[in-house]
Structures are given as C-alpha cells and as structure tokens.
Amino acid sequence: MSKPKVAFYWCASCGGCEEAVVDLAEQVLDVVGAVDIVFWPVALDFKVADVEALADGEIAASFINGAVRTSEQREIVELLRRKSKAVVAFGACAWLGGIPGLANLRTREEILAEVYRDLPSVADGAMPREEVEVPEGRLHLPRFDEDVRTLDQVIPVDYYLPGCPPPVALIAQAVTALVEGRLPEPGTVLAPDVALCSECPRRATKPEDLKLERFVRPQEIVADPETCLLAQGLLCLGPATRAGCGAPCVAANMPCTGCMGPTGRVRDQGAKALSAIASLIAPSDPEGVAKVAEQILDPVGTFYRYSLPASLLHRRVGTDGGRPAEPSEPVAAAGGGEPR
C-alpha cells in the first residue's frame, strides 16, 4: 500500500509552526518515513503545478498554518482543499487568527499607509500595486485583503491543532492518528477539551474565593513560583484556555497567554476570559471596578491575543477610519486598546 500523501503550507504566520514540525526531532524522521510529502514550500522544492497535477482528494491531509490575508493564500488553500481528504488548521493563527489577527484592529488602508508611507524608515512612500508593467511584461502581486481571516472562514476545515506553536506531543499524536487512519469526527480540536488549570501544577494554591484587588504585569513582580499566578494578580488565561500544552509558560513563571484557544463550548475565548476575570475583581462599586480594570493596559491584546478574527467581534468596526481609541481606554471599550 502506498504511503499517505501529506502537504504543509504556511499563510500569515511567523514560521514557528514550521519550526514545531522540525521540533519533532527524531520523530520527524518517522513521520517523513511514514508519509509521502507532496508540498512543503519552507523545506522542499515542490511547485504549485505539482499540486495542481494531483487528483482531487489525493492528498490524505494538508497541514496549513497561519491566518489568511492575501489572495495568494486564498488560492493555495482553496487548491489544497480540493486536493485533500482532510485539512488540518495547524496552530493558533490558522484556527483563530492568532497574533497576525490583531491587525484587524486597523483598517487595510491604515496598515498600508503606516508601512509604506508613514514609518520613519520609509523613503519614497511608494504604495504597492497589484499589477506592474515592466519591460519583461506584467507582474502581479497578491492582493492584501480587507481583514485577516481564520482558515475556516475561507475553506472548510476538518481538524484543528491548537497552540502557538502546537505542542510537539499533539502534532505527533495527530500525525500518528492520520497515518493509522484513526481520525476522530471532523470538526474536532486535537487537544483535551478542558482548560489549562486542570493540568497546572499550581492549581491547588488557587483560592476558592479569589478576589482581585489589582493586576500586575510579569515584569513588575517576582512571582512566587508555587502559587497560582492569577492569585498573584498576573493575568493568567489558563482558566479560559485549552489544556494539552503541559503548562510550560506557568512552569517558567509566566502567565498563560491563551494560545491554545478556547474549550469546546466556548464561542469567544476573549469574551469568556474577560467575563471570568472581570467577575473576580474585588471592588463592586463602579469606580472601584474601573480602578482595577484600568490596570489591564491592553484589554484586546490580552484577552483576544490569539483569537480576534475568530471572535464574535472579528475586527474593529467603525467608519472613523482614524486612529484607534486611546490605549488608556478602560476595558469596556473592547476593540479599543492598542496592542503593544
């Protein structure tokens, strides 16, 4: 029997997900041995035409990382969709939009103006064009879309591998399942459906009646290495984030930032995290609440760090076209704060 064919592709991403595949270390060799890689731009020299030449559904699985922002990305993922039995959204960006998804706090025009015109390092201020005439002929650049979309906002997706990047163990499990043909029901997120607190070594120290008097950032305190970080005032998103990572951030005394995404019943990770944490704020009078809430300097970047495009909000809306609201806006002005 021939080996199952697989493809890897990256869209709007940082490359960390590719790195994660390589991080499989010796296991990567097993993977390479067990499957037939038909497309992997970052590592192997296949062309799009090679994929086009395959029969529809011939690829057993395509692992696609990154969010979708350009016409080129759309074309390729649509092509891979056609050629694949299963599409796996690989990593936080493909599943939820990820860090690149925070670009949805700006309009396309704002981004282009900033990058190609306003930055101090820009000299001529030429705006990119999708078509350029050169002596050799007409050149095309992909179109920069209006907003960042998750993979499943563009094509149907079968499985999701969460994480920024996905934990090696989960990748290995997924690939093994694929090779052995034991794939779960389509739509499944390939990680435990329970939040991180469940596997956090600090859980026992988390109080039952936590009341938060203040929020601090990791650089402002030396966190106790044993006690629940949230209880120390650090914005740990562990309670609102899927387990399966083994809590490496918490082990490094850093709060969970939520990259593993929400659990199965949660539609909007940021909203859920926000409502959970807001309900723990100690004061109950509006001024007292505002005082504590103000200490969350970047509400959108904190609660929606990996999931803005997938959320009910999806992007900042408004016709102002101008700058986003001042960063000092209180939490309530979700969609306001500036990531930094």
């Binding site: 991180l196 607190c197 469940s198 859980r203 009646d209 562990g238 659990t263 019943r265 949660v266 309900s279």
Partner: protein, 671 residues
C-alpha cells in the same frame, strides 16, 4: 373566538410541533398590534403547527385552548404572545403542564410590555410583535423536557425581632401548632410599643394590650424565646434553613431568676448610676437592672460595663447575697444554638431619626427640647417621672410646641413620610394637655390621618383646643425678641394659613422624629440575603401582590422593618407573614427553580472561578475530584456562574447558549 387551527409545515413525528397563541389582552395589545397579521406570520415559521388568537389567553377558555391542543397532540411546545413573564409565565406553564407535558416546554413572547405599551405606531408594533414571536418560536424548539422539582419544608419557623410584629407573628404560628424560635436582641421583648403610655387613635393603654401578649409568648409551649440573642449565621435555603443564634451572657441564670428584683434593691449602689437605656437616658439605673417592670422574660441583667465586680473584682456582691434562688453566675460567657427552620420572618422594626442632625431645632443644646419617644417615656406611668411632665430643669411647662415631620418629608434627610408622626403628635398633644393643662401648639406641614378612626381622632383633638399651625418650623431659639419671650424657647415658623411669620414662646419643644431603618440593616440584609430599597427598609417582593414576601423564598417581612407603619398595620402584616409561612409549611414542599445551573464534570478544569461568585453559596469545590459542583436545590438560576465559567462547563437549564442565540437570531433574522 379562537381561530380555526391550521396544520402546516411538515414536522417530524416527535420533533417540535409548536403552538403559537397570540393574545389580544382586550385592546391592550389588539389596540395597537394587528393580531391577525401576527398569527398569519406565525404560521409561516418553522415547526409551527398551530397558530391562534384569543381575546384573553389568561382566562380559563384561553388556557383551555393550549391544554386541548397539547392533549390532542397537535402541538408539543407552546408559545404565548401576551403580557410578560412576571404577569403570567406561571399561568401558562401551568396550562402547559395541564396539557400533559413539561411546563418548561413553554416560552412567552412579551408583546404587551415590550411592544404595544411602548411602541405607538401600529405598523411598527406589529412588525416588532412578529420579531418577538419569531424569537420565542426558535427558542422553544430547543427547550428541554424538564420535570418540576420540589424539596420538603422544615415545619419550624424563626422570627427575628420581638416587637409587636414579631410577637404577633410568633403567637399566630404557635397557635397553629408550629414551633417558633423568637430571637430578640434586647433583654426583653416588646419593642417600641412597650415604651408608650397610650396608643392612637383609641388611646388605649399600650401596656394593657401588649403585656398579655408578651406573657403569652413566654408561656406558649410552642415558642422558644431567646432574648439578649442575635442570629449570627444563616445557611441553607427555603424550607431548610440552618440558623446559628448567639446568646449574650446576662450573668443571671434565666432558669432560676424569678424576677423578684431583690438583687436590684440590694446592689451596693443605692441610686441608679448609669443612664437607663429604656428611658432614653431620662433616668439612671443600677448595674443590675430590668428595663421595665413587665419585661419579658422577667429576668434581670448585669451590665459588666458598670458593675464594680467586673471592673475591679472587688465588691461585696450584695446582689448575689440577696438572691434566694442563687441565680447569679458571673462566669457566664456567650453560648450558641443551632436550629433548623423552614421559614424566617424578619420583624426587626425601626429606629427613630436623630434630631441632632437638624441643629436649628436645638436638640441636645436646649434641655427642654425632647424627642417624641422621650415624651412617650415621660408620659408613661412606669417611666422616669412616673407619668408626670417634669422638665429636665425641674419645671412644669405651661406652653408646649410639637414639631411634626422632623427628619421626614425633608429631602435633606428622608423624602418619605413616616406615616405615624402626625397621629402620635396629636396623641401627645392630647395627653400633654390632659396632664399639664398647658397650651399646645402643633406645627405641621399637612395632617396625614388616613387610617380607620384617624380623621375622627384629629377632629377630636382640634375640638380640645390644641393650636394647629400649618408651616415648617425654621428654628427653635432661646434668643428673646420681646420681654415676654424672655426665659422661654421660641419657635419661629411661617404660618402658611395666615401667610405670616410667627414666633411662639414655649417651655417645652417636642420633636416628632421620623422612623428610619435600623442601623444594622445592611448586615441583616446580607445575613438573610434579601434586599433594601433606597431608603434602607427591606424590600418586599411586590408592593401590591406580595407585600410580606421577599426575593428570597421562605424569608418574610413583618412590621416597620419593611417601612414606617403604625401598630394596626404592623399587626396586620405580621398576621399575613405568619399566614404565608404557614401556607408554605403546610404545603409540605417548595417548588424549586427549573433554570438551575449544572456543571459538566468532564469539562470543568477546577479553575474555581465560579465557586466564590455564587450569591447563594450553591457551589462547592470537590477537593478530591478537583471539580466544582452546583447544589441544584440551592441554585436560584441567577446565571452568574454560567457567565463566568471560562470553560463553558457551567451551563444553565432554559438558558443554554443555543437557546439564547436562537432567540437572538429569531429577532435578527426577522428584522
């Protein structure tokens, strides 16, 4: 009459078959909303098999429509588009249950309160009504089949506060065979009424009508009377409360003291030493004392603050010697009792307004300015002056001014009317005149005399020659403007009937202080998990339809803790509270909320976010399994934990995300 039924939309056997019933509510709805159009529209909605209209859905024939359609199998889910859940959700749930299914397979579309009463344009209103119906139809299709649940009720009752309200409620319940724990924080029951000499409007002697009831409480086999005690902890829920009561030491054993008072005579202090609280400081008492002769229980109290033995350890203890019963026990400490009760009646009463807050009336500055409550004591035959009106300076007044509405009807203090001050001021006018022959001047804003026999009482006082001056008093001063005013207090007021400013010299001023919430209302409110209105009095569940209930099932209100009221109203309310408690106990079971929360163990990460949030302490954390758990008997369905659970592990019946989103989509999809 009802529309003919129309079967449409092929629905799966066993799948949702929804009946939509649109109510006219007379012209309340039909006057604005085109009911016929809403019915036609409902027929086009998925899963709707029957759509009807009716003039009054809440009437018997209206409900019968629902029951019949259910019984005939035409529908298995019900939407009524009518008033509001507060009005009639219970009615239509009952009808749904009568039709032989779960009462929770029902959803209301509020097209009166949310539509016809607020949207004037008929076309807009009709469209809006359709959107509400569409939302309810989408939602009810997802409702689960839930069984109504019940929990048994413990038959004993706790009454907190032994004023006339608590006394009356306790006796009513005890006479009906229920066991009552009556907890009073003072050393005697009786409350404010025990301080009065006579009561309006009948001028019957307060003690004569009150003390027999006080003795009856003490003698009643069904009443456990705990004075000098307070409730420190309440847990549990309607029908099954656990209450912890603290008993403060009186240093005299209640089971031995007979109230002979020999010890008081024998105390080394020959005269009273400290201000007597019951007489509001108008007399002095000894360190061993009893508030008043008919105090119930008739047991003396030792006050360690002033007792020489407690202060210095050196006292011949002549009191102990004098006691033939050996009742003294200076080693007593606080003790506690824990009891279970099914219902709780709060009857914690009021306190009077502190007139020092109005410095221009001179209370605390001029010795001859009194509060009404002090005058009640002066008039009382068992009071500091044995009923004679002798002023602080030893003189007897020949002219007395009574100022109404002190602290009441005054936006600076209490905007509300204290309801009893006009009447007790007239009572005091009558009694002071009778006892002293003095000229009496009552300064009032309006006379409020709306009770039975009250206007007649007012007439009677008028005819007795009391001067009634209409106007708010500006000031009480001792600065004389004329030689005649010299040595008197002068009341300056505008007489709004004569349209002139007046100065009336008097020897005594009585301030008709208003009624306000007890100072510890907030603590009590928290302890019993009820709410207070803006003024701080406990809030009843509904001002008209549930005046003695609270938002916490099983906790009832009686007397002035719910708002200022006179004795007749207090007693009536106490009777009502007792009846409500009785009804609950005799039913034997209480219905439990269906919209409770529950936690999916597999999805619970043990993050504990929810545990401390539940206002009803319904959530516990299972340390062994590291999971949170909701006690669905205690859960009130407030939804706080559901909103907060960052895992979506906490879910709520009748408020699942799917149901809520379906409802929202119903509105939006229609629009």
């Amino acid at each position: 009459m009802a529309e003919e039924l129309t079967a449409r939309a092929p629905s799966l056997n066993g799948g949702p078959r929804i009946g939509v019933y649109v109510c006219h509510c007379g012209l309340n709805i039909a006057g604005t909303v085109d009911v016929q159009a809403v019915v036609e529209f409902a027929r086009t909605l998925p899963n709707v098999t029957v759509a009807r209209e009716y003039r009054f859905m809440c009437s018997d024939p209206g409900q019968e429509l629902i029951e019949q359609d259910l019984r005939e199998g035409l529908v298995n889910r019900v939407v009524v588009a009518s008033c509001s859940p507060l009005m009639h959700e219970a009615t239509f749930r009952r009808a749904t249950a009568e039709g032989g299914t779960s009462p929770y397979l029902f959803q209301m579309a509020s097209i009166r309160e949310l539509v016809s009463w607020v949207t004037a344009d008929p076309e807009d209103a009709t469209e809006k009504a359709k959107a509400h119906v569409a939302a309810a139809v989408r939602r009810v299709a997802l409702h689960e089949y839930l069984e109504p649940r019940e929990a048994p009720v413990h038959p004993d009752v706790l009454v907190v506060g032994g004023g006339i309200a608590g006394i009356h409620a306790a006796l009513t319940l005890a006479d009906a065979g229920k066991h009552v724990y009556l907890v009073e924080r003072e050393s005697t029951i009786g409350g404010h009424m025990a301080m009065f000499d006579k009561t309006f409007p009948t001028l019957d002697c307060a003690a004569c009508i009150l003390t027999p009831k006080m003795s009856a409480v003490r003698a009643h086999p069904n009443i456990t009377l705990w004075t000098y005690s307070d409730v420190v902890e309440v847990s549990g829920y309607t029908g099954d409360f656990t209450v912890r009561v603290r008993h403060r030491p009186r240093y005299v054993r209640e089971d031995l003291c007979t109230g002979c008072l020999a010890c008081i005579d024998a105390c080394v202090h020959k005269q009273g030493k400290v201000p007597d609280e019951f007489n509001l400081g108008l007399s002095k008492r000894k360190p061993v004392y009893i508030p008043f002769p008919q105090a119930t229980p008739p047991v003396v109290v030792v006050d360690p603050e002033s007792c020489i033995w407690f202060k210095t350890g050196k006292c011949p203890q002549t009191c102990v010697e004098a006691c033939e019963r050996d009742a003294f026990d200076f080693t007593q400490t606080e003790t506690f009792d824990e009891v279970k009760v099914g219902a709780i009646i709060l009857a914690t009463g009021f306190r009077t307004f502190d007139p020092r807050r109005i410095p221009e009336y001179g209370y605390g500055r001029y010795p001859n300015v009194y509060t009404s409550l002090e005058v009640e004591r002066l008039l009382n035959a068992a009071g500091p002056t044995a009923g004679e009106i002798v002023l602080r300076d030893g003189s007897r007044p020949t002219a007395i001014g009574i100022i109404h509405c002190v602290g009441s009807r005054d936006v600076r203090f209490h905007a509300y009317c204290s309801r009893v001050c006009c009447m007790y001021s007239l009572k005091l006018a009558h009694m002071l005149r009778e006892r002293t022959g003095a000229e009496i001047y009552n300064f009032y804003i309006d006379i409020r005399a709306p009770g039975k026999g009250y206007e007649e009482f007012y007439d009677k006082i008028l005819r007795e020659g009391v001067h009634l001056i209409r106007g708010r008093v500006a000031e009480v001063t001792d600065e004389a403007a004329t030689p005649e005013e010299e040595g008197h207090l002068v009341i300056r007021a505008e007489d709004t009937l004569l349209g002139m400013a007046r100065r009336i010299p008097v020897d005594m001023v009585v301030l008709a202080v208003g009624l306000e919430p007890q100072p510890d209302t907030e603590d009590v409110r928290r302890l019993f998990n009820i709410s207070c209105g803006g003024e701080g009095f406990f809030t009843e569940r509904h001002p008209k339809l549930a005046p003695v209930s609270t938002f916490t099932d099983g906790v009832f209100l009686a007397g002035a803790c719910q708002g200022p009221k006179d004795i007749p109203d207090t007693v009536a309310q106490a009777g009502a509270a007792a009846a409500e408690a009785l009804a609950m106990i005799d039913r034997g079971a209480v219905a439990l909320e269906a919209n409770t929360a529950h936690i999916d163990e597999e999805r619970c990460s043990g993050c504990k976010t929810c545990v401390g949030l539940c206002p009803f302490s319904a959530i516990t954390f299972d340390e062994e399994r590291q999971k949170a758990r909701v006690n669905e008997v205690v859960c009130k369905g407030c939804g706080i934990c559901v909103a907060a659970c960052p895992s979506g592990a906490a879910q709520q019946h009748l408020f699942t995300d799917e149901q809520i989103l379906a409802e929202i989509e119903g509105v939006l999809a229609y629009v």
